[in-house]
C-alpha cells in the first residue's frame, strides 16, 4: 500500500473507527490536511445517521438497545472523530450502569452521551461544568447525596485525581474543601440537576489557593488555574490518539497550546492530529485495538453496514462493557485488553464473521474466488484489506501453506469456500491485525 494511503488508513483508525474501502478512497482524494479539517469540524458535515438508526428499530429504552444504537452510530456516522471523542469522554469522565442502574438509566445515559457529543470538541471548562451537573454522574460518584455538614468526598476526589489534575497536584485538604463546595448539587425527583440551597455549604473555602464562597464552578476555575491541568488532559489525549510514553517536551508543547487556546478541545485535538509525532513511524500500528475498534474495524474492512445483534455482549466478553466501565478510572487500554480469554474472543469473533453464510454473510466467498483465483492473489488481497498490505514474508508463507492445503481453488468450490473464509479468519485473528 502506498505511503499516502497508509497514512490516511492510520488517521481514520485513530480519529475514528477505521474505514471502508470507499471511505479510504475518498480520504486519499481529499488529502491528509483536508481530511483532518473535515474530522475536526463535524458541524460542516451532513449526517443522516439518526435516520439510519431510527430505521433499525432498536429498543433504546433498554440499556442493551442503547449500547447497540451507539455502536451503529460509531459505525455509520459521517462524523467519526466526534463519535470517537464521545467514546473517549465516556472512558475518562466515567459513569457506569452497574451503579447508576434503575429504570431511568437508559434516559440518563442518553443524556450523558448527548453532553459528550455536544462538547466533544468544545471547551474543557464547559464540559467540566456540564458533567458536574450531569444526573448520571451525580448518582455515580454520589454527589447527589453530598450535603452541608456531612460532605461526601467521592466526586471531589475523583474530579481532581482522575479527571483533571492527577495524583500529586492537589492535597487531601483540597479534596475536603472542594467537597464542601459541591454540597447541595443534586437531582430533582424528575432526575434533572438542581441546587438545594439549604444543603449547600456557602461558607468560605480554600481550594488550590482560591479562597471564597466557592461552589462547584469555583472549584473548576481553581483547577483550571493550575499548570498541571493543561498537561494532564493533553497527555491523556495524546496517549489515546498517538502512542504511550510520549516525550515530556511533546506534552509540554501540547499543554501550552491547550492552555493558550483557553482550553479549546478542537485546538488541542487538531494539534495532535497534525503533529509530526502522530504521523511518525513510532505512532503507526503502535496501539492495540480496543474491542470496539477491533470489532467495528472488521465490519468496516468487510464493507458491511450490519452489526451482530449481540455485539454489546461480545464486547463485554472482550473486556469493554459499554456504559459500564470496570471502575471510575475507565478502561486501562493497550495491553490490558489482551489476555488468554480475550485473545480467544477476538479469534472467535473473526471466525464468526468470516464463516457466516446466507443472509447473515459478511464475506462473498464465491465472488472473491472469481476475482482472486490463486492463493497468492487471495493472501495479497486480505493483506491489503486488513493490514495495509504490511505482511511479513514468514507470515505470508504460513498463510500460503494453509491455503495450499485446501486443494485447487479454481476447480473446487468447496476448496474455495473453506480457504477464502479460513484465510480471512486467520488474518483477522492474527497478532498483526490486533495492532491499531
Amino acid at each position: 500500500m502506498d505511503q499516502t494511503r497508509r497514512e490516511l488508513a492510520h488517521l481514520l483508525r485513530r480519529a475514528g473507527f477505521g474505514a471502508t474501502p470507499a471511505e479510504l478512497d475518498a480520504a486519499v482524494g481529499l488529502g491528509y490536511d483536508a481530511t483532518v479539517e473535515r474530522l475536526l469540524h463535524p458541524e460542516r458535515v451532513p449526517d443522516d445517521v439518526d435516520a439510519q438508526i431510527a430505521a433499525l428499530d432498536l429498543d433504546q429504552s433498554k440499556i442493551e438497545g442503547l449500547r447497540l444504537a451507539w455502536l451503529y452510530r460509531m459505525l455509520l456516522t459521517a462524523r467519526p472523530l466526534q463519535e470517537k471523542m464521545v467514546l473517549f469522554w465516556h472512558g475518562h469522565l466515567t459513569s457506569a450502569v452497574s451503579k447508576v442502574g434503575g429504570p431511568r438509566a437508559p434516559a440518563l445515559f442518553q443524556r450523558q452521551l448527548a453532553l459528550f457529543r455536544e462538547q466533544a470538541l468544545g471547551n474543557w471548562r464547559d464540559l467540566l461544568r456540564g458533567i458536574s451537573r450531569d444526573p448520571a454522574m451525580l448518582a455515580y460518584l454520589d454527589n447527589r447525596l453530598n450535603r452541608k455538614g456531612a460532605p461526601n468526598e467521592n466526586y471531589a476526589r475523583e474530579l481532581m485525581e482522575l479527571f483533571t489534575l492527577g495524583i500529586g497536584n492537589y492535597s487531601e485538604a483540597d479534596v475536603k474543601e472542594a467537597a464542601r463546595a459541591f454540597t447541595g448539587w443534586t437531582v430533582n425527583r424528575d432526575l434533572t440537576f438542581t441546587v438545594t440551597p439549604r444543603q449547600h455549604d456557602d461558607d468560605v473555602k480554600t481550594v488550590l489557593g482560591h479562597t471564597g464562597n466557592l461552589d462547584g464552578d469555583g472549584v473548576i476555575d481553581a483547577i483550571l488555574d493550575q499548570p498541571a491541568a493543561a498537561s494532564y488532559l493533553a497527555g491523556k489525549l495524546f496517549r489515546f490518539f498517538a502512542y504511550d510514553d510520549p516525550e515530556p517536551q511533546v506534552i509540554d508543547r501540547l499543554g501550552g497550546v491547550f492552555r493558550d487556546s483557553g482550553y479549546d478541545l478542537r485546538t488541542l485535538v487538531g494539534a495532535i492530529l497534525h503533529a509530526p509525532e502522530f504521523r511518525s513511524e513510532r505512532a503507526y500500528h503502535a496501539h492495540i485495538k480496543s474491542p470496539v475498534e477491533f470489532t467495528l474495524g472488521v465490519v468496516k474492512a468487510l464493507d458491511a453496514q450490519a452489526l451482530p445483534r449481540d455485539l454489546p455482549a461480545v464486547l463485554r466478553r472482550m473486556g469493554q462493557d459499554l456504559l459500564n466501565p470496570p471502575s471510575v478510572k475507565g478502561w486501562d487500554g493497550g495491553p490490558a485488553w489482551i489476555n488468554a480469554m480475550t485473545v480467544l474472543e477476538r479469534a472467535n469473533f473473526a471466525n464468526r464473521l468470516a464463516t457466516a453464510r446466507g443472509d447473515q454473510s459478511y464475506l462473498d466467498a464465491a465472488a472473491l474466488a472469481q476475482t482472486y483465483r490463486t492463493p497468492d492473489a487471495l493472501v495479497d488481497h486480505f493483506a491489503e484489506q486488513f493490514l495495509d498490505g504490511d505482511l511479513p514474508a514468514s507470515s505470508r508463507a504460513a498463510l500460503l501453506d494453509y491455503a495450499h492445503q485446501g486443494g485447487d481453488l479454481a476447480a473446487n468450490p468447496n476448496a474455495a469456500d473453506r480457504t477464502i473464509r479460513g484465510l480471512a479468519h486467520l488474518v483477522m485473528a492474527g497478532p498483526l491485525y490486533q495492532l491499531g
Binding site: P151, E153, I338, M341, L344, S395, A398, G422, H425, P431
Partner: protein
C-alpha cells in the same frame, strides 16, 4: 518493543522463539522433567485469594458490638446486639455472614483483626496496588503472587502456576516469567472454527501459531500479542480437559462471584496443579446507603465461600485449599451524611479451610484511639501473606516480600 511494564503485566514467557515454539506446538501443557522443573513438594495445597473490591467496611463486618463508642459513632449504621452473630464477648460477625459463623464454630475460619500498613493510602487504585504488589513505599510493577510463582518454579511452558477468574489479570500476578491465564468463563475458553469444515481446525490452529511465533514484525506490541495468543492456544485444550472431569453435587448461588469459585473448584478437582487462584467480588465502595449494599454483598461472599468449601469437602480436598479474603482498605469510623462511610484504613481478613487453626488473631483496633478518624492498623498485611507463603505454600517469604515478617498462628 513492549515496555517492561507490558511484559510484566501479561505474564509473558520471555524465551526465544526457537526454544519455546516446539514446546507450545507439542501442546503437552505440563511440566516435564526435561524442562528442569521440580514441583514444590512442601506446599500443602492451593491458595485461593478473594479480593473484595471497593474497600469493605470492616467495622460492620467484624463488629465490637458491646463497645459503647461503636453505637455512638455510628448512630444509624451501627448494628444492634440483637442482630449480630457473636464470636466472643466483644466481637461479632455481620448477620449476613451466618455461613462463616458456622465455619468459625467448626474451627475452619480464622479472623485476623486490624490488618493494614503504615501511612495508609485512601486512593482505591494506589491502595489496591499496594496490597497486590506488597509494596507500600515504591511503585513496584511486579505482584507478590507473580514473584512467588517465579521463585517456586511451579509454572513451566504453558503449565498454569496460577489462574485468575475475571476479565483482567490482577497486578498481584504480574511478573516477567510466568503465564497466568485470566478466565471469565471456562466453557468459552476454546478456539472455534468454521462449522462447515470442522476437520480444518487443527490446520487453522497450527497456522495461527506460526503467525504468532514468526511474524518478524518490528511493531512495539507484535511480540506481546503473538506470545499471548500462543499461550492461550496451548492452554485451552488442557484447561478444558481438566475442567471437564468434576460434576459437582453442590448448588452454587447464581452470581458472578459464586460461579467464579465454582470454576476454581472444577480446576482443583481436575488436578490442574495451579498453586494460586484469584477471584474478585466488587461493589464495596459504600459512600452512600451502605446498609443494604453491604448486606447483599456480604451475603454473596458468605454463601459463595460456603458452597465452595462444601464442594471441596465433596471432592475430599477440604484440607488442601486455603482461602484468604482482603480488601484495599476499610472505611472511616464515623458515618457520613449519606448513610454511608468514606475511605478508611485497617480491616479484618478472613482465612477459611479445614487445614488451618480457626479463631481470632491480630488485635481489634481501639475506637478510643483513632488516627484522624481512622482505625490504627495492628497487623501488617505482609505478615498474613508471609504466613500463607511459608506455612501453606512452603515458600520462603523474604524473597517475595522483600523483608521478614512475624508469622501468625492460624497455620501450624
Amino acid at each position: 518493543m513492549p515496555t517492561r511494564r507490558e511484559f510484566l503485566s501479561k505474564g509473558l514467557m520471555l524465551v526465544t522463539i526457537g526454544v519455546a515454539a516446539p514446546a507450545f506446538l507439542a501442546k503437552t501443557g505440563r511440566a516435564t522433567p526435561e524442562m528442569g522443573v521440580a514441583p514444590s513438594v512442601t506446599s500443602r495445597g492451593a491458595l485461593v485469594v478473594v479480593q473484595l473490591s471497593g474497600g469493605n467496611d470492616g467495622l460492620n463486618t467484624v463488629i465490637p458490638y458491646r463497645d459503647p463508642l461503636y453505637s455512638q459513632l455510628r448512630p444509624q449504621l451501627g448494628l444492634p446486639e440483637s442482630e449480630v452473630l457473636p464470636l466472643d464477648d466483644t466481637l461479632a460477625l455481620h448477620p449476613a455472614l451466618a455461613p462463616l459463623k458456622a465455619r468459625f464454630d467448626a474451627g475452619q475460619l480464622a479472623v485476623v483483626r486490624g490488618v493494614g500498613y503504615p501511612n495508609p493510602d485512601r486512593s482505591h487504585f494506589r491502595s489496591m496496588d499496594i496490597w497486590q504488589t506488597a509494596d507500600p513505599v515504591a511503585y513496584s510493577q511486579s505482584g507478590w503472587l507473580g514473584r512467588y510463582l517465579a521463585g517456586c518454579q511451579c509454572s513451566a511452558g504453558s503449565q498454569a502456576g496460577g489462574v485468575a477468574v475475571g476479565q483482567a489479570l490482577p497486578r498481584a500476578f504480574w511478573t516477567e516469567s510466568v503465564f497466568v491465564p485470566a478466565l471469565s468463563s471456562l466453557d468459552g475458553y476454546r478456539f472455534q472454527t468454521d462449522p462447515r469444515w470442522p476437520a480444518d481446525r487443527d490446520a487453522k490452529i497450527q497456522t495461527l501459531q506460526e503467525l504468532d511465533a514468526r511474524h518478524e514484525a518490528i511493531r512495539p506490541y507484535a511480540d506481546f500479542l503473538g506470545q499471548q495468543s500462543l499461550n492461550a492456544l496451548a492452554s485451552t485444550d488442557e484447561l478444558q480437559r481438566v475442567a471437564g472431569a468434576w460434576q459437582t453435587p453442590i448448588s452454587y448461588p447464581e452470581n458472578g462471584f459464586a460461579q467464579g469459585l465454582k470454576a476454581v473448584a472444577r480446576l482443583i478437582a481436575g488436578d490442574l496443579g495451579a498453586r494460586v487462584y484469584y477471584v474478585q467480588i466488587g461493589g464495596f465502595d459504600t459512600h452512600a446507603n451502605q446498609k443494604n449494599t453491604q448486606q447483599r454483598l456480604l451475603d454473596q461472599l458468605a454463601t459463595g465461600l460456603d458452597a465452595f468449601q462444601n464442594d471441596l469437602e465433596a471432592m475430599g480436598k477440604a484440607d488442601q485449599v486455603l482461602t484468604m479474603t482482603f480488601s484495599e482498605f476499610g472505611r472511616r469510623v464515623h458515618e457520613n451524611g449519606s448513610q454511608g462511610t468514606d475511605h478508611g484504613t485497617a480491616e479484618p481478613m478472613f482465612l477459611l479451610g479445614a487445614g488451618l487453626k480457626g479463631g481470632l488473631y491480630g488485635t481489634q483496633p481501639p475506637l478510643d484511639d483513632l488516627d484522624n478518624g481512622d482505625l490504627r492498623y495492628q497487623v501488617d498485611f505482609r505478615a498474613v501473606y508471609a504466613t500463607a507463603l511459608e506455612r501453606w505454600l512452603g515458600a520462603s517469604a523474604e524473597p517475595v516480600l522483600g523483608a521478614s515478617y512475624p508469622l501468625l498462628d492460624f497455620l501450624s
